[in-house]
Symmetry: C2
Subunit: 317 residues, 2 copies
């Protein structure tokens, strides 16, 4: 049985070929579409004082030698103590015996990575043929990682960023402008006016992008809305889209962008597809099409990135 700390896990992930990780996360998405997964409902444990949320995502993909249980948490006041607001660990067990195989004490690193890789997978399969500019709404860790991973699937190096805090925008530019030409935008609408591949990465509770902001031919990946109440996109954007692809239809109906649009009656469940189906079947994107990927984060991604780490360790022995 292996126990790995964050720095060891970072080293393993950084040593892996990005295209291998993209493929693993593709498999994670396709497993959902093909129903080749045993993925029980997410467990939740909430705290009030201080506020905190613990979630347990777990499951098994048909054919995998292991099942994985992820325990993640968000305690928004941690930063006042000099601690990370989010935390997490991954546990892998042998699917034939239940034996603990590895505990990856990644502190949320693997979740951050698999979320960003999922964004790149979506862009690979759904982005316009010619990416004119990448729009990033938000300036946090995930905003950085999404942009970082998009390098593996597009040659575009023009980025347009919007953030509420000018301090954080400055830090973002400092960190990311080595390989990207970054333009700061004063509003989300200004991002949408310039970029045709947009990623929203905020914890917003109300729409940041309105339907009138979005140009024909734009793809948007929304990954901020991961719990009930959050919303980054005006539901009319989803109504106008030719494709709305969910990482998990069930989860997106419960707490993604999709749920707002369906609840308002501007989108029906029958119009939804999965990212996995898009990967598996391909899409015929027309020049004017607006497409959306609604990402809530799924256990199969946690499973595949965890097993990628373990596999790499087993091969290096």
């Amino acid at each position: 049985m292996r126990i790995l700390k964050k720095d060891e896990i970072v080293q393993v992930i950084e040593g892996l070929d990005p295209s291998y990780l993209l493929m693993q996360i593709e498999k994670a998405m396709v497993a959902i579409a093909l129903n080749q997964v045993n993925m029980p409902p997410i467990g939740h444990l909430g705290f009030d004082s201080p506020p905190g949320d613990v979630h347990i995502k777990y499951g098994h993909i048909t054919g995998d030698a292991s099942y994985v249980i992820k325990i993640g948490s968000g305690f928004p006041q941690n930063s006042t103590l000099g601690l990370s607001n989010s935390n997490g660990l991954m546990l892998a067990f042998k699917a034939k015996t239940g034996e603990l195989e590895a505990a990856l004490l990644d502190e949320g690193y693997l979740t951050d990575q698999r979320t960003a890789i999922a964004g790149a997978v979506v862009a690979k399969h759904m982005a316009p043929g010619q990416v004119e500019g990448i729009g990033i709404i938000g300036t946090g860790i995930q905003a950085r990682l999404q942009l970082e991973w998009l390098k593996t699937v597009t040659n575009c190096r023009r980025a347009y960023v919007y953030g509420r805090s000018s301090e954080k925008v400055d830090a973002f530019i400092q960190d990311m402008s080595g390989e990207f030409t970054i333009t700061v935008c004063q509003t989300p609408a200004m991002v949408a006016a310039r970029a045709n591949l947009i990623v929203t990465t905020t914890p917003s509770n109300s729409p940041l992008l309105m339907a009138s902001d979005i140009r024909p031919g734009t793809h948007i990946t929304a990954m901020g809305s991961d719990t009930p109440g959050k919303q980054e996109l005006d539901e009319n954007i989803l109504a106008a889209a030719s494709i709305v692809a969910c990482d998990s239809i069930e989860q997106c109906l419960a707490h993604g962008e999709t749920c707002h649009a369906v609840n308002r009656g501007v989108l029906s469940e029958g119009q939804l597809t999965t990212v996995g189906a898009v990967i598996d079947d391909g899409i015929q994107r027309k020049d004017e099409d607006i497409t959306i990927a609604d990402l809530t984060g799924i256990a199969t991604q946690d499973i595949k990135i965890t097993l990628s780490v373990i596999e790499a360790l087993n091969q290096s022995v």
Copy 2:
């Protein structure tokens, strides 16, 4: 952050005063009765080939500095590989920050202990004033541990045991006859004819004890029925009982002995109480009363035994 293996955990538990552990498990039961607990539904992940069941029990007791997540598993074919059929680990996290505090890789040892301690707690509060004989139905690990822990709450050292396999019965007698005078019974009914404190510890799917077997003045603790479909007691025994105390009414209605009796209509939900309420309020037991404790195993017990280990380690530093 601490990581402890089974042998270290065994050492800590064996170094603790049994009366301290009894008190902790009493608190675990009372927390349920007083609704001082945040205990989400148990998570389940099932496997078919080979058959296996993973369960995640977790929660937080009001006022505790930590929350605990237990991952347990049962893979019934493990024994053919020379492995234990059951396995498990406990994770404790700080309730104010979500930081991982300790991982106790106990392989199910703490679950076995807290289950047996719960049996002793029940006997302390519900057994007849004069225990004439202890009846044990079953000859597994839990049969041994229940008897072992009953020593802490009764002076009776006469035990009557029933098991299907004469080989396992012999092994049981060899292991347990140091401090007990053990009589082998050919049927469960013969155990009930001699013992007035009975513990059932089998994975049976059909009743082993019938209502006509049970003498007035008997207490029965049923702890084998922990998943749907299992049953050790004829439902008419519960109907005849003056008290039916559940560790968790919700869980017992879902998969304890209680669910069979309620489903058959011989017992109503209104007649149920909790073990915690019995501990908190006490009971007036009449000589002729038949009483039942239905134990399905609850997260608060996992929490309290885990925190007892951590507390002991913190104090020993």
